[in-house]
Amino acid sequence: MEIESSLYLIPLLPLVGFLVNGLLGNQLPKWLVAVIACTGPFIAFLLSVQALQALATHPEGLHQAMFSWISTGTLNVPFGLQVDALTAIMLMNVTGIGTAIHLYSYGYMHADPSFSRFMAYLNLFLAAMLMLVMGDNLLLLFVGWEGVGLCSYLLIGFWYQDFANVDAGRKAFIVNRIGDFAFLIGAFTLYSLTGTLEWHGMEQAVAALDLNAMVVSGPMTGMPIMVALMIAGLCLFGGATGKSAQIPLYVWLPDAMAGPTPVSALIHAATMVTAGIYLLGRMDFLFVLLPAVMGVIALVAACTALLSGLIAIAQNDIKKVLAYSTVSQLGFMFAGMATGFFHTGLFHVVTHAFFKALLFLGAGAVIVAMHHEQDIRKMGGLWKDLKGVSILFIIGSLALAGVPPFAGFYSKDAILAAVYYQAASPGASPEWMVIFGMLVFTAGLTAFYTTRLVVLTFFGKPADEHRHLHEVHWTMMAVLAFLAALSALAGVLGLGTWLDTFTHHVWSPPAVEVNEALEHTAHYVAMGSSTAVVVLGIGAGLFLYLSESRREALDRWTKGSGARVYGMASHKFFVDEFYEAFIVNPIGWLAKLLWGVVDRIVIDSGIVEGSALSVSGFSAALRHTQVGAVSAATTSTLVGVIVVVLWLVLHG
């Protein structure tokens, strides 16, 4: 098989683009930089298509072993790439949309003085993301996982002249590291249970575990295996909440909108943030064994969806609205994965990538046209001047709102049906019904805030009658049209059904029994309720925002009697402030305290002066060379010696 032996080219090509543009880009003309940057991802896309086709004849998946990465007596990790149905779908997403966004970036960024650096980072991101989805073991996935985090950080802070951007970038990185910490603990735990980090080996080892037994060796000796697996599952999900912006670690994603808009589309909507969903899908064999953990995931996901949907209503920055909506939609995807019908989550990953990339890129076009204005209150009436962009943006909005027959409707519907199926199954835990209710309500919210966004941006009176709009580059329009076609048609053309059959053999079968009658009911309940709330949401949005007088009344309400309620949402429920007060500041205090203790108290205090006398022979000679520091060092040594000696004498 030709493609199986050239899988390595898929991540390598963007990496080469990164190296060339990153190191020589300053000396090359911009068109050449763009050609280099776009060629790698495009060829990677063609190879991915080939790999996808090859899967038809190789349903067990493609695998290319490269070399042995770590091989010691106790730890053996290969360096290999694999493509199965799940990876193939992710590959199509990452390389397909990735290439489109590279092209768009040429139009969006070509005037920037650091254009080559930007394209180089994008290429590096793509290489890392491809590594993430193609790695054949957990550690290799982690390499990509950290790589995309790094690129995200570099790209958020890309316009570093504004210090807030740099801060946002650092916040993203640090928050993600907290997630990674959980990820690593989960990986270690799983490793000590199964003795391997490879997907296939792990799947077999987990299947072979006796769930009622106890762990017999390693750090968790004596713990029931089920509990150990739950710890692993929860920790891995903790890692996913970092990368995929779920409660409690979602706070970085809205701030990440400080980066250039193509970055928001590519990294913070279409690809990187779905890494957590991919992880869940990849570890399906673990999660199907853990219904309790799945329940937790679904609950966290539903809460995230609802909370960020509420926040999105009160945001006025066009990109912030889209950012919170991304967090909310990621919640839907997690809920879908948590039902055990993994293809529903994956389906939403794909359609969401289409329409959210479209919306972000459309927002980018609007922002360019408005000379980098992002406040939707200062837009209005753009319909007249930007007909093309408006139509495409509205197509994306309809898909996001879940209006049939746009793509978003089908995938959201599939998730709602799966959740309802879980809830209505005999013996299901009651929380599932609550989750279903929250998700349906959030679907209505989505329709509402999307309508608000569209109405405020494109309709009504222009905020400024004399504005002069900037022209939108043709590469940007071409990419928008391409994504709009996908967002409009993907559902109708049966992408969902195809995905289901194509990936069916990769998933471990769900824990609940298949009940066709219930499946049909679930389908109708989901469709009925979601259509109803979408109609309500859009209706309410149009009713409140389309008429000038009602909008003003609403404005008065948010400033007057509704200020408290509205303020909660517009201040994002004060989660950032909470973290600042209870996590960030205490660490800062600890560091300052330590600094203060050592620098001021120890060195200047009487303890040191006293002991300085004991080395007075030296100190007399060294008075002029900051004797304090020297005696601090000797004092600390002396204290250490006393502790060590006392401890050793008294201990045994």
Partner: protein
């Protein structure tokens, strides 16, 4: 005492380095002081010859050489660490070209002292007896005291040298007293002799105090908390190439010698020292990282970061005794591997500071060289020097433990091993400490990549670029293909038992 010529082979690599160093000092008399080719060839040749000798020992000879009544032993661990020390020494020799020419330091003195220190460290890791350990520890320290203060006109450098000397002498007293206590308890200086005596039931509190004080001596040399107070001042004051040299090689040699002492002299009392090292490792990781958070000088930040990395390496020693009370000496391999990864990333980071040095106008019309030290020295330099900035970024990410660099694998191997032996708490503390460390490593990247340049008058030194490139290559190579290195580290420990 009589010995055969064959036994000299145990010393041969170290002797080659020592002789090259002594000749380099002597050369100053014969060649004009401005030429450095003769010095460079002599010392470079010495390093390469010693590496070749070690290579032949490892791959052709294979059996360990015990020499001088088992006072020295050239086994796999000695070879592994000696090779790491020599690699670092070679790189430092190249990068010290910048320090010596810029600051008018005599080539003979500088190269000679580095070579003498290197040879003492090579013998230290091969020492099997407290007598040889002590002598080599002192030779090494004396050379470093002088190296630290070698820029005679620089008050900071002089002050650092005196501080190092005073506090070093203080710690040496404890070490020597510890050796004396152990001798008093067991009647021997030989590590294996001490083990036999302890096994016979001579486990008195005198022996325990002796062991504790010896550990204090080592802890001081490698900069473990609370014996680390000299580190920031000395590292900051010394010429940067010396800082790079001592931060990597002394750590490797000190930890190596400590491993040998613990595994050969006191393996049966791991219940005593493992708990002690546990607390020391935790304190070192926490204090080192929190102090580094506060620094605005990159050089000082790297000094505290080196303290933190000592803590990580100690985790391996502290978890040698697994929670179900079995003794797993193999664990020490992860410390050796960690030190190897640490060698290249730290050398690279310090060399980068030398590379970015600039000239400051002095008082009397002359100019004075200043290495890049503060964050503002590095502001926005990524656009001017993308290669160097990318390499520094690589070193910093590696220090922070981001894959696929060497630093990630070092930490992964270390903490995975600790967890496997049941030490979850210390692994969690370690991973959290490295999480905190990312904050200050990233700050440097932010300044390089996301700031407007403030000073742009650096005059890069071409030979330092070679060091940066080689260190970068090694950092990536070990990250992507660590297999052979880990295997070598494990083998080094396996033969030690």
């Amino acid at each position: 005492m009589t010995f055969t010529i064959y036994e000299l082979a145990a010393m041969q690599p170290a002797l080659l380095v020592m002789i090259a160093g002594l000749l380099a000092v002597g050369l100053d008399t014969f060649v004009p002081s401005k030429t450095r080719i003769a010095h460079a060839m002599l010392c470079g040749g010495g390093v390469i010859a010693a590496m070749a000798a070690l290579g032949s020992q490892l791959y052709y000879q294979r059996t360990a050489i015990h020499a001088f009544g088992n006072m020295l032993v050239l086994d796999d661990m000695a070879c592994f660490l000696s090779l790491a020390i020599l690699a670092a020494t070679g790189l430092v020799l190249i990068s010290s070209d910048a320090d010596t020419t810029r600051r008018n330091i005599g080539f003979g003195e500088y190269y000679g002292l580095i070579m003498i220190a290197a040879s003492a460290m090579m013998m230290l890791v091969a020492s099997n007896d407290f007598m040889t350990i002590f002598v080599n520890l002192e030779v090494l320290s004396l050379a470093l005291y002088v190296l630290t203060g070698i820029t005679r006109k620089n008050p900071r450098s002089n002050e650092a040298s005196v501080k190092y000397l005073v506090s070093g002498a203080f710690a040496t007293c404890f070490f020597l007293m510890g050796v004396a206590f152990l001798y008093g308890a067991t009647g021997t200086f030989a590590l294996s002799g001490i083990r036999e005596a302890l096994a016979l039931g001579l486990d008195s509190s005198m022996a325990r105090v002796g062991l504790g004080m010896v550990m204090v001596g080592f802890a001081f040399k490698i900069g473990a908390v609370p014996f680390h107070m000299w580190v920031p001042d000395v590292y900051e004051g010394a010429p940067t190439s010396t800082t790079a040299f001592m931060s990597v090689t002394v750590k490797a040699a000190g930890v190596g010698a400590l491993i040998r002492v613990l595994l050969i002299a006191a393996p049966m009392r791991s219940d005593l020292w493992a708990d002690l090292l546990w607390w020391m490792a935790v304190a070192t990781m926490v204090v080192g990282n929190l102090m580094a958070l506060q620094q605005t000088s990159v050089k000082r930040m790297l000094a505290f970061s080196s303290v933190a990395h000592t803590g990580y390496a100690l985790v391996a020693l502290a978890t040698m005794r697994s929670t179900d009370e079995t003794f797993v000496p193999e664990a020490a391999a992860s410390a050796l591997f960690y030190l190897l990864t640490y060698t290249f990333m730290t050398l690279g980071a310090f060399s980068f500071l030398i590379y970015m040095g600039h000239e400051l106008p002095g008082k009397d019309g002359t100019s004075e060289w200043q290495d890049a030290e503060t964050l503002s020295d590095l502001a926005g330099m990524a656009d001017r020097r993308p290669w160097a900035a990318a390499m520094m970024g690589l070193f910093l990410l590696s220090l922070g433990g981001i894959p696929p660099t060497a630093g990630f694998l070092g930490k992964f191997y270390l903490f995975a091993g600790a967890i496997e032996r049941g030490h979850v708490t210390i692994a969690v503390i370690g991973v959290m400490a490295s999480l905190v460390s990312l904050y200050y490593y990233l700050r440097v990247i932010v300044w390089m990549y996301m700031k407007e340049p403030m000073i742009a008058d650096e005059k890069p030194h071409p030979s330092v670029a070679v060091v940066i490139a080689l260190a970068g290559l090694a950092t990536l190579l070990i990250g992507v293909m660590p297999g052979a290195f880990i295997a070598a580290a494990e083998h080094s420990i396996a033969v030690l038992r």
